[in-house]
Homo-oligomer: 395 residues x 2
């Protein structure tokens, strides 16, 4: 009896992560500097843990609100008002068990069998996977690397719309490319969506990680009305060093509230109240921590960018947003093998671009959201391992 034969095609089609092979190859090696995942090296700040622990000790261990505790939804409202300068009522916020769950719920709501979802690539692979599990089809819209940086051709995006298209996914600042849409870019994309009656799934989770001195990247909320067909994906993971907590939020027009509540009810039935208390502390008291994290990422990003540039073999876009260096190495076409080799030769863990869809195959993704010393050491090792091709071979 072959058990796999009994499974649905959607489940069978869910792909393994293309990063996992390299992680499994390198995990546990002494001295390994792991830059393959999208997380930093700082544990969650103590003030966030303290709030969660106090809640747990106070016995907040019972079922709670499916949409999130009111205190967290109010804190989200305060945070957004502060960051965007416009009121964003608490009714727009739905607490989820991760940014990933927000994506899953969004896709379940707006993309079903036979629907097409446009995804600019290279992209975080979990978008396409979640789209496939919902029974829809992810249609890649390849971006291009120009001298000025990564570029999404909005005409190409518009030309990819078919009668089956229902959704455009826009991740800005982007994982893995660092592409950070301007306000004009977002307005142009929104115009395409409006023209065709499409939804936008706006993953703005790296919105604080920009390196032009602004407190945040441009957002669809700068150009759209609150009641448009836009679902915002968000997470506590990156801003507040809470990757392991699995807590995020979905922002949506309140008219969708009952549907979202039901989809939460029938997937995870809410998020631990004590974790939500930690999240309230993060929002209310975490601005200084975010500022430190962004400044550290900027310093670390410049170290690795300058170091790899000096090899003369490496190409990448100027740093804009998020915290990844997405780079190409001259003469290296098989990035999966290169990533495995760098584990052996540099003891540095990097994700192969093959994990990120069309247009990413020739690249490697390195997360620089870590302390400077580690990034400097990783850079030295990578430079030694990559070097100039002749030098490397003679070493």
């Amino acid at each position: 009896m072959n058990l796999l034969e009994g499974l649905t095609p959607e489940a069978l089609a869910a792909p393994a992560s293309g990063i996992v092979e390299v992680m499994n190859y390198g995990r546990g090696r002494p001295g390994m500097i792991p830059l393959w995942a999208g997380e930093g090296d700082r544990p969650t700040p103590a003030f966030i843990m303290d709030a969660a622990i106090a809640s747990m000790r106070a016995g907040e261990t019972f079922y709670t609100w499916q949409r999130g505790i009111p205190e967290l939804r109010e804190a989200l409202s305060r945070y957004h008002q502060r960051l965007y300068g416009v009121p964003v009522p608490m009714e727009r916020f739905f607490v989820t068990g991760s940014g990933m769950q927000s994506v899953q719920i969004a896709m379940r709501m707006i993309a079903g069998a036979g629907d097409e979802v446009l995804v600019p690539t290279p992209a975080w692979p979990n978008f396409a996977a979640a789209i496939g599990i919902a029974g829809a089809v992810a249609v890649p819209v390849p971006m291009t690397l120009e001298p000025s940086g990564w570029h999404l051709d909005v005409d190409r995006l518009a030309a990819s719309v078919t009668p089956r298209t229902r959704v455009i996914v826009i991740n800005s600042p982007a994982n893995p490319t660092g592409w950070t849409a301007s306000r004009d870019d977002l307005a142009a994309i929104l115009a395409v969506a409006r023209r065709h009656g499409l939804w936008i799934v706006a993953d703005e989770i790296y919105g604080r990680f920009v390196y032009d001195g602004s407190p945040r990247a441009a957002s669809f909320r700068d150009v759209a009305d609150p009641d448009e067909r836009i679902l915002y994906i968000q997470t506590f993971s990156k801003n507040w060093a809470m990757t392991g907590w699995r807590i995020g939020w979905l922002e949506a027009p309140p008219a969708l509230g009952d549907v979202i509540e039901n989809l939460i009810q029938y997937s995870t039935s809410g998020v631990a109240a004590f974790m939500q208390r930690g999240a309230v502390a993060a929002l209310d008291e975490g601005d200084a921590f975010i500022a430190e994290q962004v400044a550290a990422a900027e310093r670390s990003g410049r170290i690795v960018a300058e170091g790899l540039s000096a090899t003369g073999r490496v190409r990448f876009a100027p740093m804009a947003g998020a915290f990844y260096l997405f780079f190409q190495v001259d003469g290296e076409t098989d990035t999966r093998r290169l990533a495995l080799r760098l584990v052996d030769e540099a003891n540095v863990g990097i994700a192969p671009g093959t994990a990120f869809g069309p247009g990413g195959e020739a690249y490697l993704r390195l997360c620089y959201g870590r302390r400077e010393e580690d990034i400097a050491e990783a850079t030295r090792r990578l430079v030694a391992a990559l070097g100039a091709p002749g030098l490397r071979r003679s070493a």
Copy 2:
């Protein structure tokens, strides 16, 4: 622009919980005794919190294994070996963000568009909802209340199988009826599944809550081979008073491991490592706590059963498993209105049977998994409010 028009039919069809109306009606009333939800009144035991807090303080706040930390999967293996007397290897266990998420992943794996899933009813409404969200159809198989207790007619179950049937959901001990399948029942159901090549989703989360002196209810593992098409749904919620934590597990043949890992990856991407450390403590050190909980539930159940029996108006099955009294009140046909009235007149919160599908409409569900004093007081109030019809009207 009607935003709801843009949503998928599966999302729109996800029903609101039939319990929520009564909860919203009664929530926050002073002195209210809430017996509408499936949870007790004890917070999580301190030894479980301690383990979670120590882990958090030690900085276990990073991404972790999608299948669960090895230490928890090993603890699950130990727990099952102890409880069932047979080795159950850790490769069979997948940690999830609730029993509900286990159901969701199970349904996504084995039930898709056009498939039928048999669900004996009255049943926990979340089964049918999760089936619908997966694009499949829940087909109720009504059970009957006999003098000996609730009864699932296996011939009727078999007669409900069509060429589109893919899955049978069996929840034993059952929410809301308390039905607890015998080993022979399970063998007969398994024979039906084998004959037609069906999957079984075995929700055995109330398996410890039985009142015949056994440490556990009969389980499909008593009659099935490990590599059969059975997916076991489990949660930490009930046994260890962890309803608010949102952590459970799915047990499946290891051949499904990669698919399950991918479905976890693309829904919530795992469970907080610090919560998993709490769960390890629960499994390894929680037997005495479970014994206390079961003994308390038995005492409380007998109090309410005897109290309501004395009214002469109330009918229910003999206590078997789980911790619900699922009862009918003579002369009361509209249980939704009755539940609302009992909020007003008894200040006791009870779930209307209309929430539990075909065959449950005439019943009310009362959770007796709470301290004796509360249950005794709730019983007094319910008896006063229900009384004999004549008595009540003249009161």
